[in-house]
């Protein structure tokens, strides 16, 4: 019967062109939607790698501070001590502007044995960074003051970069080159991946570089971990304190939990809009498919009557029409999968292959379900066509 249906469909390929095109376009759109959803879901289920609760950021304009490194070091050391003296503050750290959930990014490339690893997030952090963020160390250690005098610059890398560079081997004590492979950096620790761009984005490769005195003039953020007692009154006092210390420059205090929500919204809202548009498309396609199948059945009443006369039961007729729709869908899906499979093969957008493979399988299942649902009612109606009337009408 399947061969018979293929023959029938092939011989009616011109009439079926609209149906085939609709399914193909729907598959590609659904594949895109599922690719996004799978990508976001896979990232969402991975651990965050740090704690953002009760972490505040204090942003300031550093233009009015002295440019003298020694004076700056003293200034920041005093500031840290003053802040830490406040009972509501548990930890204080200075870091580059690309701290988690900020809208700032810094990336570089690193080399190992001549092999280049691109798009490596480059974070500058001091000795207390891991305590503020509760970054989870997998091996080695975080920065210590004595790292300032090492022969090679000390760095901490994340798990993704470690796996890419060293596989299952140990990274601790290994030397890796900077983007020009001139200076060598020594890996002293490996931390769990830190999803700094929100819950739905991967951590990517990351290198944590120790903040040295030369970088102090570029610091514009103080990150603090506050206790549960830190309320609006404390925030107001903190603001005044910082304003006094920074000679009335603009001070902004941000809460990382709110920044996280904003960051996630940037991902979720466009995705919801995309899904709504896709849903409208799917509804239109479903109505279209339903219409095409309904029209086909009305056009083929004579054939249905004939099949009933020569031995098809009502169920046979219904199954045949549903099967025909599924065979047609299969033809479109073969073409659709040919295009879709190029994405994992060519590693498009640097997304893991598993995302595209899962999205493809989900899209195929979705299209089959859609076609089955659209064919079910017309198929049932066809099975109810009275053979004598159908043959007479023809």
């Amino acid at each position: 019967m399947l061969k018979h249906l293929f023959k029938l469909i092939w011989n009616k390929r011109k009439q079926n062109f609209l149906f085939l095109s609709e399914i193909l376009v729907s598959f590609l759109v659904i594949f895109a939607v599922f690719s996004f959803l799978t990508f976001y879901y896979q990232n969402y289920t991975k651990p965050l790698g740090f704690d953002y609760e009760r972490v505040w950021t204090i942003n300031y304009d550093n233009g009015r501070l002295t440019k003298n490194n020694d004076s700056l070091q003293t200034f920041y050391s005093n500031l840290r001590n003053s802040l830490k003296a406040m009972p509501q503050i548990e930890e204080v750290t200075y870091a580059s502007a690309n701290f988690p959930y900020s809208n700032s990014t810094m990336s570089t490339a690193v080399k190992k044995n001549g092999k280049r690893f691109d798009r490596v997030n480059f974070y500058t952090a001091d000795e207390n960074y891991d305590k503020v963020w509760n970054v989870k160390l997998l091996s080695g250690r975080w920065f210590k003051p004595e790292d300032a005098v090492g022969k090679n610059k000390s760095i901490v890398i994340n798990e993704t970069l470690k796996t890419a560079m060293f596989g299952n081997g140990s990274a601790i004590g290994q030397l890796i080159g900077d983007y020009e492979d001139k200076a060598k950096m020594k890996v002293i620790g490996v931390v769990q991946d830190v999803k700094t761009s929100g819950d739905y984005w991967p951590a990517g490769n990351a290198v944590f570089n120790r903040l040295d005195t030369g970088y102090l003039k570029d610091i514009r953020n103080v990150l603090i971990k506050v206790s549960t007692d830190a309320d609006a009154t404390f925030e107001s006092n903190l603001y005044k304190f910082m304003t006094n210390n920074f000679k009335n420059s603009t001070i902004e205090i941000g809460h990382l939990s709110e920044m996280r929500d904003s960051k996630n919204e940037v991902t979720v809202i466009p995705m919801i809009i995309f899904m709504i548009i896709a849903a409208f498309l799917v509804i239109n396609v479903a109505l279209g498919l339903f219409g095409v199948l309904w029209y086909n059945i009305n056009q083929r009443k004579g054939e249905i009557g004939l099949r009933r006369a020569i031995g098809a039961s009502g169920n046979n007729v219904s199954s045949q029409l549903i099967l025909e729709a599924l065979v047609l869908a299969t033809l479109s899906l073969v073409v659709g999968c040919f295009f879709a499979v190029q994405f994992p093969l060519l590693s498009v957008f640097d997304v893991p292959s598993s995302v595209y493979v899962i999205a493809m399988l989900l899209a195929v299942a979705f299209i089959y379900l859609l076609v089955f649902a659209c064919a079910l009612y017309p198929g049932k109606q066809a099975s109810g066509i009275h053979p004598a009337i159908a043959l007479h009408e023809e």
Binding site: M1, K3, K7, N11, G302, R308, I310, G311, S313
Partner: protein, 221 residues
């Protein structure tokens, strides 16, 4: 072989009730070639559809091969039609998107047979009607007479005991009509197939064993 007892068929709409068949009693013996004649709208095709189990009578019973088929389920009726009955229609009812050979194979798709077996049986049926050189043609590439011969091949491919022909020569000129009639007569004579044929043509009807005339849904001869 076929026994119709007190068959009535009423078509009902919201406002009108039409009596299409009125108390028909008919017995058709095995190997008989029967023709049914009558003016348009007298219920010939309705009666044929009832005999072919394509339509249900409003009243009365149908026995075929001593089986009361009125109580058969849809599934069982379909199987019975497939194995015991063959249909020939005035407008051929061929599927234009399938080759001649595939059209003839159709009834065999609804029974368990291999593709090879189906091909052999369909080719043999087409040979019987003299169309073995048109296997890969589409119905639209054939003349009316050839199309009706394809329809006959489709009707006989499953080796049915009964063939029901609804004006098989109605769309054909007299030459082609006679050719089709010859095929049916040979089938009846050589294979012993019981044939019930509805026709408007007195000449064709005269070639059959028995003629039944209908008028306003009732048997008058």
């Amino acid at each position: 072989m076929i026994r119709l007892q007190n068959i009535e068929k009423v078509y009902r709409t919201d406002t009108v009730e039409t009596l299409a068949i009125n108390g028909i009693n008919l017995q058709i013996a095995k190997g008989e070639f029967l023709s049914i004649m009558g003016p348009s709208g007298c219920g010939k095709s309705t009666l044929l559809n009832i005999m072919g189990l394509l339509d249900e009578p409003s009243k009365g019973s149908i026995n075929i091969n001593d089986q009361d088929v009125s109580k058969f389920s849809d599934q069982r009726l379909a199987k019975f039609r497939n194995e015991k009955l063959g249909f020939i229609f005035q407008s051929y009812h061929l599927i234009n998107d399938l080759h001649v050979l595939d059209n003839v194979e159709l009834p065999l798709l609804y029974r368990s047979s291999s593709a090879k077996e189906r091909r052999q049986l369909a080719t043999a049926a087409l040979e019987k009607v003299g169309l073995s050189n048109r296997l890969k043609h589409f119905p639209t590439q054939l003349s009316g007479g050839q199309r009706q011969r394809v329809a006959i091949a489709r009707a006989i491919v499953g080796n049915p005991q009964i063939i029901l022909a609804d004006e098989p020569t109605g769309n054909l000129d007299s030459g082609m009509g006679n050719e089709i009639m010859e095929i049916l007569i040979n089938l009846n004579r050589n294979e012993g197939t019981t044939i019930v044929m509805v026709t408007h043509d007195e000449n064709m009807a005269n070639k059959t064993h028995r003629l039944v005339r209908l008028f306003d849904g009732s048997q008058v001869q």
